[in-house]
């Protein structure tokens, strides 16, 4: 890939002479390099997924076969048989991840507002402190957080899992919302307040709709972080709280590659579906209110 970047895509002096029919800006990749770049992307990111798809439907695929020998529905049938357990663990993961999103939002919306709009002493330090749980390795605080949850009798419970996941996922929401608040002028709120709206009314009805894109961005990251986490759920949930990662790991470590591949693919589908729903919901809200959803578009 490096070699390609070095010698590919160079629009040489000849093109300035105007011999090429299509006018191309210097610096933009030419068709050959574009094709190469997309090919490399495909090999790196699409091929592994294609291998998973092939494995999921393979009867057997062993060294040194380049392609699986025969197809079988064994993995699909297994998922069909285990439907209850798989659906239960997926649903549990989706639910606690959504709860983490909701809780993160509730906990960070006012702090984000303060960081963006209010004069605070040592603002940079405060923000850095509150964002640090996302940067520091999870293990440094999770052992203690687990002990605290044990004492609060929240270990091995759904609430405990949501709590501990929120501790390291909320910074993404905080960062996103405070960036969102920075893009909104406080004047709207001032106007609403002068017209007689209370604090909560203007927060809910004036600020929230404008904050929606920032919420969407933060929510996607927080959801992914919570949904993907294995260690913390395993530590605090202790097996009592079902999770898809917890369901998956024994298969990943087993030698049954067919079933593990199919279960891995399921992992891809859930966030994609949820992001699609989020996108539709947000654009529905925007068109209903006649707001411009194109913050990034000119």
């Amino acid at each position: 890939m490096k070699g390609f970047m070095r010698d590919g895509g160079v629009v040489r002096g000849t093109s300035i002479a105007g011999s090429s029919a299509v006018k191309r800006r210097p610096g933009v990749l030419d068709p050959g390099s574009t094709f190469l770049f997309l090919l490399v992307l495909g090999l790196l990111f699409l091929l592994p997924i294609a291998v998973l798809v092939l494995y999921a439907g393979a009867r057997s695929w062993q060294f040194p076969q380049l392609l699986p020998r025969g197809f079988s529905l064994r993995a699909v049938e297994f998922v069909g048989r285990q439907y209850g357990a798989i659906a239960a663990s997926l649903l549990s993961s989706v639910l606690y991840s959504l709860a983490v999103v909701a809780l993160s939002f509730l906990l960070t919306v006012l702090p984000a507002r303060a960081l963006a709009w209010y004069p605070l002493p040592l603002k940079g330090v405060i923000e850095a402190l509150f964002l640090s749980p996302a940067l520091l390795p999870v293990m440094t605080f999770s052992m203690g957080a687990h002990v605290l949850l044990l004492r609060l009798r929240l270990s091995d419970t759904w609430v405990g899992v949501v709590a501990v996941l929120t501790v390291f996922a909320y910074p993404y929401m905080l960062r996103s919302l405070s960036a969102g608040y920075q893009r909104i002028s406080p004047d709207y709120t001032v106007t609403a307040r002068n017209l007689g709206a209370g604090f909560w009314t203007s927060l809910l009805r004036v600020e929230m709709p404008m904050l929606l894109p920032a919420f969407g961005a933060g929510a996607s990251v927080v959801f992914l972080v919570a949904f993907s986490e294995y260690f913390l759920v395993f530590l605090v949930g202790g097996g009592a709280v079902a999770s898809y990662t917890g369901y998956l790991v024994p298969f990943l470590k087993s030698s049954d590659l067919q079933i593990a591949s199919l279960l891995t693919l399921l992992f891809l589908i859930v966030p994609l579906v949820l992001f699609f729903i989020l996108e539709r919901w947000m654009s529905a809200v925007f068109s209903k209110r006649g707001l411009n959803n194109g913050a990034d578009k000119p």
Binding site: M1, R6, G9, I16, P26, G27, V28, L29, T34, F37, L38, L41, G42, L44, F45, P48, V51, L52, P64, L66, L107, L110, P111, A114, Y118, P119, L120, G124, A128, L129, F130, L131, P133, L135, L136, P137, V138, M139, T140, F141, S142, M143, G144, V147, L148, Y170, P186, V190, L224, F227, S228, E229, Y230, T245, L248, V249, L252, T264, L268, P271
Partner: protein, 288 residues
């Protein structure tokens, strides 16, 4: 609406639950355990740290983790930058196709480990391809990428998962750079590499540093990928800590906490650097 300091501070109160209660308590527990002796009567002690430095296995684990984290974060940032540059200079028509680079961002680390296992193991797809090409005669001839001491499989899994993430961060900064600068440099005869070095790189350097710190710290303490890709010693720090904390008798538990304390202190330095860079970046943006 009065925007005073005190209302601002009151706004911050909700964060006292996750940050003040759980996070600080968690760190406190780690530090307290690391410095406590066997009996409750004695004062703080350094014996657990001494133990770590004396134990060659623990020492190797620390150095090994630093190496893996440094290597994978460096390659991921470099690869992510190439990816971002490619995406940035891609003709607009085909840009939707390039969105496939986001797939690893959606997939969890666990699955990155699994994919690497399928592709790079001695009987994996790459080994099969090498056999078909006549490069190797059997599985034993294929290099043991996953379980040898170099643990290249770990690096591959982290890079595959994190390079697109780095690309995402770099591209968010790149889009703020006026493409006309590149255009002009190229028109005036600057080569590809020179244009990158003198126009693009100064603009993206801070985000490369911050991306590196994020990925380096994450890899240093992460559990999921080494747990799946496993293998024997040298072990990643997270696995060592896990084994000390849960698998052996309670007497060695403080050693696990001492390791975590070292990890915490080490990470803290990078966290401080991280926020200094982001602050400068924002200052620069405000000045524009």
């Amino acid at each position: 609406m009065q925007r005073t300091r005190n209302t601002g501070l009151a706004h911050l109160l909700p964060l006292l639950i996750p940050f003040g209660l759980f996070f600080l308590w968690g760190i406190g527990y780690t530090l307290y355990g690391a410095f406590s002796g066997a009996s409750t009567a004695g004062g703080p002690t350094l014996q657990h740290f001494r133990h770590i430095f004396m134990d060659p296995l623990l020492r190797t684990s620390v150095l090994h983790s630093l190496m893996i984290a440094f290597t994978s974060a460096s390659i991921a940032v470099a690869g992510g930058t190439l990816l971002a540059l490619g995406l940035w200079t891609l003709p607009r028509r085909v840009q939707p196709l390039a969105l496939i680079y986001k797939l690893p961002i959606i997939l969890p680390h666990l699955t990155a480990a699994f994919i690497v296992m399928i592709l790079l193991s001695r009987s994996g797809i790459l080994a099969s391809a090498a056999y078909q090409l006549g490069l190797i005669a059997d599985t034993a001839a294929f290099p043991d990428l996953l379980y040898s001491n170099s643990k290249l499989g770990l690096v591959a899994a982290y890079v595959w998962k994190e390079a697109p993430f780095a690309a995402l961060l770099v591209i968010s900064v790149l889009t703020k750079l006026n493409f006309d600068y590149v255009h002009t440099a190229r028109m005036l005869g600057a080569g590809r590499w020179f244009t990158f070095r003198s126009v693009v790189y100064p603009h993206i350097a801070p985000v490369l540093d911050t991306s590196f710190i994020i990925l380096f710290l994450y890899t240093l303490g992460a559990f999921d990928i080494p747990y799946v890709l496993g293998g024997s010693s040298p072990r990643m720090l997270s696995i060592t800590v896990y084994n000390l904390y849960f698998r052996r008798d309670l007497a060695v538990r403080p050693q696990a906490l001492a390791l975590l304390t070292l990890l915490f202190a080490f990470s803290l330095v990078f966290v401080v650097i991280f926020f200094r860079i982001t602050r400068r970046m924002r200052g620069r943006e405000a000045a524009v």
